[in-house]
Symmetry: C2
Subunit: 253 residues, 2 copies
């Protein structure tokens, strides 16, 4: 809607790929160098981009700090955290909390496994949306008219042989997940990692977040992990209750 701002903001994902110099930025934006320079300067003044010693630009520290604040403002995160910690103390595995927003699912909290073998993931990282158990729960709850177009728009990378292969399979899976009220990912993202997940609901019953327990095969088998399902669901329900109970008049997730 606003050309100048639009161009300026387009620089950010571009720099997220790695540092770039003025010429590269100008080229990729399709504007004159002097224009790119002015945009970069403005971004710089706000700390969103940083100029390294070799004069190239990269994303800046304030961007990271802003994102941090953004996450701390999410109320489910705050409410859920102690529950996640308790669950981790009970089962020892990695616990994740994720939300959906505008075609993306991201982890917003995590409690590390207490086993030496840890799964790689990071708070803030977009989730493998077509296979992750938490993603299934969040998408399964979308209204039909959003869910289908989204499913058809997605890519279906075959991380492993068990990854969701395409949109129809995904939609079928979502249907199943919606009915049973929980989800799994059995080696669909990384061959040796399994997850069980449960939804967290707001007062109106809509799914506002999802949580999961993940563990590698070498620690527990998929079957053993599934025995944790009741515990996971109970934890999720506890969070749901607290979240819808004292709803501090803030918006949805």
């Amino acid at each position: 809607m606003s050309q100048t701002v639009d161009r300026a903001l387009s620089i950010l994902p571009l720099l997220a790929e790695g540092p770039a110099d003025l010429g590269q930025v100008a080229d990729r934006l399709g504007v004159h160098k002097s224009t790119a320079l002015r945009l970069l300067r403005t971004l710089h003044e706000h700390g969103l981009v940083y100029r390294q010693s070799d004069q190239r630009y990269r994303l800046g520290a304030r961007l990271i700090a802003l994102a941090q604040e953004a996450m701390e403002n999410l109320d489910i995160r705050e409410i859920a955290h102690p529950h996640l910690v308790r669950l981790n103390e009970q089962c020892g595995h990695t616990v994740h909390l994720a939300v959906y927003e505008e075609d993306e699912v991201l982890y917003i909290d995590k409690v590390e496994s207490r086993y030496p073998v840890r799964m790689y993931s990071r708070i803030g990282k977009p989730v493998a949306i077509t296979v992750a158990a938490v993603a299934k729960l969040l998408l399964a709850d979308l209204p039909e008219h959003e869910r289908r177009p989204l499913a058809e728009k997605l890519d279906y990378p075959m991380y492993t042989a068990r990854s969701t292969p395409n949109a129809p399979a995904f939609l079928r899976e979502l249907e199943k997940v919606r009915e049973q009220g929980w989800a799994t990912d059995l080696g669909g993202h990384e061959e040796s990692i399994n997850c069980v997940a449960a939804p967290i609901r707001g007062a109106d019953g809509r799914v506002v977040a999802a949580m999961s327990v993940s563990a590698p095969n070498v620690v527990v088998t998929a079957d053993e992990l599934l025995t944790l399902l009741p515990l996971v669901r109970r934890t999720a329900d506890g969070i749901s209750g607290e979240y819808s109970g004292r709803n501090t008049a803030k918006g949805t997730a």
Copy 2:
């Protein structure tokens, strides 16, 4: 430099304080509602702001994802991580990695304590710059003409009775830290928490990052923590060596 972009970017820190509606944004920017609307829409298209169900705006998911990518691009982080993990395995305490950038110091990595009592901190969070051990190391290495103005510009909140009280005291502390090549924070941020920190240097000897070990009094006394200093310094030196050794032609921290 660019008015429109400048205004648009000013919205981000504003929303970081919490959700706001159109009128509030327009007021705080000092522009007409229609102008604010167009800016917000542009930010929205890029996913940097999100519109909640109550129509108010807050920071969006893509901002978080961008920040995540920004951190993953930092090469020291990648090099340092395994060293931090090893150190954590050896001593059991919380280990932090921090960098300085444009008047800010922030944590870019963290390995959690294995003791039940954990210190609160978060990756991406700006550090208490006047008291944290890592901040002292990073600022101590700045050239005089940057260090002094910065020190005089800072606020000196008295988190505890041992917090650095003012600029002269801070500059003296930095001088000491620079000479001894390591730093501590003994209850200067939170009464019962102590840290020891060591610098990580690039090939040219400049400090590019700093790492620290933190532990609460209830787990180890300050004196006991200080006995870890040699180990911390050795770890930091190891990272320094690796960082300056195979310098993959990337920029500074």
